[in-house]
Symmetry: C2
Subunit: 248 residues, 2 copies
DNA sequence: ATCATTCCTTGATCAAGATCAAATTCGGGG
DNA sequence: CCCCGAATTTGATCTTGATCAAGGAATGAT
């Protein structure tokens, strides 16, 4: 669902928070105008399910604000989050009728939506959009596979550090301050949601966050606001060989 | 890399083990002929690395025979396999210069290869191929996310059962016998490779296989040949709510 | 055949994280 | 301002799977 991490959209429209930019330089402006006319917005409360796995899906779109999560649940209630949808991420998949996973709002979420059928028509008439979507999907696949390394081989501590690094990297505040070692942001996820994402229990998440705090690697203001005095220092805890790689 | 699980190719060619079929009904025969002329074959020994992560990749293609694995390695040697490439699976990604993961032969592997540049040209001139590739990539993404559930939330026993079910499902012998409850196949992976795929140690893999054998859920002939007297019974051990879902 | 090598199994012990069970904190609503 | 309930933290204990350490079995070379 989260077709990508790179932006299909930008935030320079007047009438709405986002606007579809040229997916590729070969796009005709007309085609983008079509997108403009097709869109509608919808806002969901935190905890609300946007899409149930198995549902027939009629819309595609992008997250405008807030955070949503893709997740799977086993019969006995074990849950695993398989993707985070942050603002500008694409939701939905052209050519697919049935949603493979639940999409749940982690915070209040606003989505800009297009009806699937017309969007798919546009996809056929504008091959460059298909190319762009392919590229976006390949990026998602890479991200999913990076996450497999985290789930399969990282320690609880490394998992937490990696998640914090990912959120920090995606957070607007980081873009503004990335030169500085100091980074601050709000966690958009509850401890339980973090646990579901990391393949841990919420108690373990809490303990590891406490440990990082105790050691001065992070600071907490309240329960959700994270302050990282030395971002490079946090990265040493992730177990990643490189910084750039893991983007969700 | 493993762009898909559904087949881009079929095995009815005379001159070579595989031949590209109509990727979509709208493909012109000429374009497929172009594919025919572009292809070359290469065989790798078990254990050999076809592609190193970070390498510039010049070829795309399909696995003809054998099994290869996509994997990631951390600095300290922890390894996680992130995809299996079985015969007919696609290797490589159009539009990408750099390989994101290692590709390693698990058994002797033969690959049918196309030079990237001409293949990409074909992709542009034949939009239906791009559509098909997008679809294949979305399937891969779903598979990766199913695997995330396994890595994050399943027990060692469930992991083993899931892997056996996946291999059984992909194995030709299953197609011939799937009506029967009895299924047999050869494990194309060493215990260590299974461990790397499942996020376990090889000892745990061995113990769990022994346990399944002790309980009569599977039978072993030698170390690699698996015999499943009652396939439905195995599926009860996977923790999956459905059978169909998990395909790698 | 014998040896060496690699792969696999099994055993003993350990530790990371899960589970069970209270506290404690915090953010509202009254 | 105080209370309520949800979210979080912390503690005690337990379990699963990891780690350390030998043994076998299959395979191939000498």
């Amino acid at each position: 669902m989260n077709l990508h991490t790179t932006q299909l959209v930008r935030t320079d429209c007047d009438s709405c928070p986002i606007r579809h930019r040229a997916v590729c330089s070969r796009c005709e402006p007309d085609e983008l105008d079509v997108l403009e006319t097709m869109k509608t917005y919808k806002t969901y409360d935190a905890g609300q399910t946007l899409v149930w796995a198995g549902d027939s899906v009629q819309f595609l779109g992008s997250v405008v604000s807030g955070v949503a999560a893709l997740s799977q649940t086993m019969e006995d209630g074990r849950r695993q989050m398989v993707g985070l949808l942050l603002p500008s991420d694409f939701v939905g998949r052209p050519g697919r009728e049935i949603a493979p996973f639940d999409v749940v709002a982690a915070t209040e979420v606003t989505v800009c939506r297009f009806q699937k059928a017309p969007f798919e028509k546009l996809l056929v008439s504008t091959p460059s959009i298909a190319t762009r979507l392919l590229e976006m999907t390949l990026d998602e696949l890479d991200s999913a596979r990076e996450w497999m390394l985290l789930l399969g081989r990282k320690t609880a501590r490394e998992k937490i550090a990696s998640l914090l690094a990912i959120i920090a990297r995606r957070d607007a505040s980081l873009r503004l301050r990335k030169a500085a070692g100091r980074v601050q942001f709000d966690l958009p996820l509850s401890r339980e949601a973090m646990a579901d994402y990391l393949g841990l229990t919420l108690e373990t998440v809490s303990r590891q966050i406490s440990a990082l705090k105790r050691e001065g690697i992070i600071e907490l203001q309240g329960k959700r606001r994270i302050n990282i005095p030395d971002y490079a220092n946090l990265l040493n805890e992730t177990g990643d060989d490189t910084d750039g790689g893991m983007i969700v």
